[in-house]
Symmetry: C2
Subunit: 246 residues, 2 copies
């Protein structure tokens, strides 16, 4: 790997989703902006995690690298969903007289290739070498830098669409999880309430969800059985569907 970037104007940006406190959260990074003239700190901002693409990387390589540098995790769910080029981004940032604290000009990244990632929050070390990252519940995201609000919007759309047709909900949960937790993940992402019995009946037909001989510990009520996702079974039993809406 050369570390020479492919192009100054292209970056990957990653919408990192986590699930905690019964909410869908996004991992955002603080960006410190200084005045070009005085070098004084003007204010801080929140951005997605992103970076350039190196010369000898595919776009996916770059995204996995970005994700690893931010979270220390690999083998996580990551999916490219859309590329963005805001013709106004250039202008909007040019009008300002700010620099990012490391001296980079914030206008540089023009085309951004959006990925979303699902990670199990508990594994993650939020502090990393490149800036301070923090989990922000979707409902509390304010105005982000650049066009990152739009990217989050579209990532959420892509996630909603994807989760309806492929079993990816458990990617937001620890390896072993209860059916109620899984149901909550679906409810939070889809924004609807689901009937407990029907959810279990439906998901129960999916062979890839394997019940363990293990139960929740330390809860003040009947402990729930734990389950795991088996990719193996999934690959073997997956069949394509043919359903169009309405």
């Amino acid at each position: 790997m050369t570390n020479r970037i492919l192009n100054d104007y292209i970056s990957v940006d990653c919408v990192i989703f986590g699930y905690n406190d019964n909410e869908l959260q996004v991992l955002l990074v603080e960006r410190t902006l200084t005045k070009e003239s005085t070098k004084e700190i003007e204010f801080t901002d929140l951005t997605l995690t992103g970076n350039h693409i190196y010369e000898d990387e595919t776009i996916e390589d770059a995204a996995y690298r970005v994700l690893y540098d931010r979270t220390g995790l690999d083998n996580v769910y990551l999916e490219q969903f859309k590329a963005f080029a805001h013709p106004n981004r250039l202008k909007k940032e040019k009008d300002r007289k700010w620099l990012i604290h490391d001296g980079r000009d914030p206008e540089q990244r023009i085309v951004s290739i959006g990925f979303f990632s699902l990670i199990s929050t508990r594994n993650i070390i939020v502090e990393s070498k490149c800036g301070i990252a923090k989990w922000v519940p979707l409902s509390e995201i304010g105005e982000l830098a650049f066009d990152h609000n739009q990217i989050v919007e579209e990532a959420l759309k892509a996630l909603r669409s994807k989760i309806k047709h492929e079993p990816i909900g458990f990617e937001l949960l620890p390896e072993k999880f209860t059916l109620t937790e899984l149901q909550h993940v679906y409810e939070v992402i889809l924004g609807t309430e689901l009937d407990k019995r029907n959810f279990r009946k439906k998901i129960g037909r999916m062979k890839y969800l394997v019940p363990l001989d293990e139960k929740q510990k330390g809860v003040a009520h009947k402990p729930a059985r734990l389950y795991m996702f088996s990719r193996d079974v999934y690959e073997k039993t997956r069949k394509e569907m043919f359903d169009f809406t309405v």
Copy 2:
């Protein structure tokens, strides 16, 4: 519009699908390569339709423009499905000593943002100002320039996935079409045979498919009823589904 390109290294590439002779076809463009030294024509190649993104365009704007320049059509189905950056593309093309006939260096476009488009073949004028385009059945596509084979592959995957969940099949047909034609489109795209009665039962439940008081003309058998897609009805009746595979 300035016509100043955003960036030399980024392009949009469009996989234009058409349906004819009961086959899925792709509109491809001949590229003439000349030797850099002698300017002699070395050979011709086939590529997708693509172009750079202008400074004041969104990526989608650029794709619609590219499609319009190639086909003379607007208001067609167009969808961004994936961005590509082949780290090897640069090298592969650099090793050769060719130029495209207009003098451009073929290595220039590095990141390509892929779209696919569905058009009703009968409306299209294939001759256009920028090169000769021709319809090639999917089964007969040989080796394309750059990584365009991969882009076509992925476009097809995206199309297959999309058509399972959204009503876009008729985009490949004239405004008025028969149910048999529609069924053939689904069969060709999905690569499976469908039962005529079951297909009609299923699609018949979709209110957006409106039967007309009009029949096929000039066929040597019982003429079929013609149908139209009503986007209006679709928008109104569309409801989200929650189905995961297996």
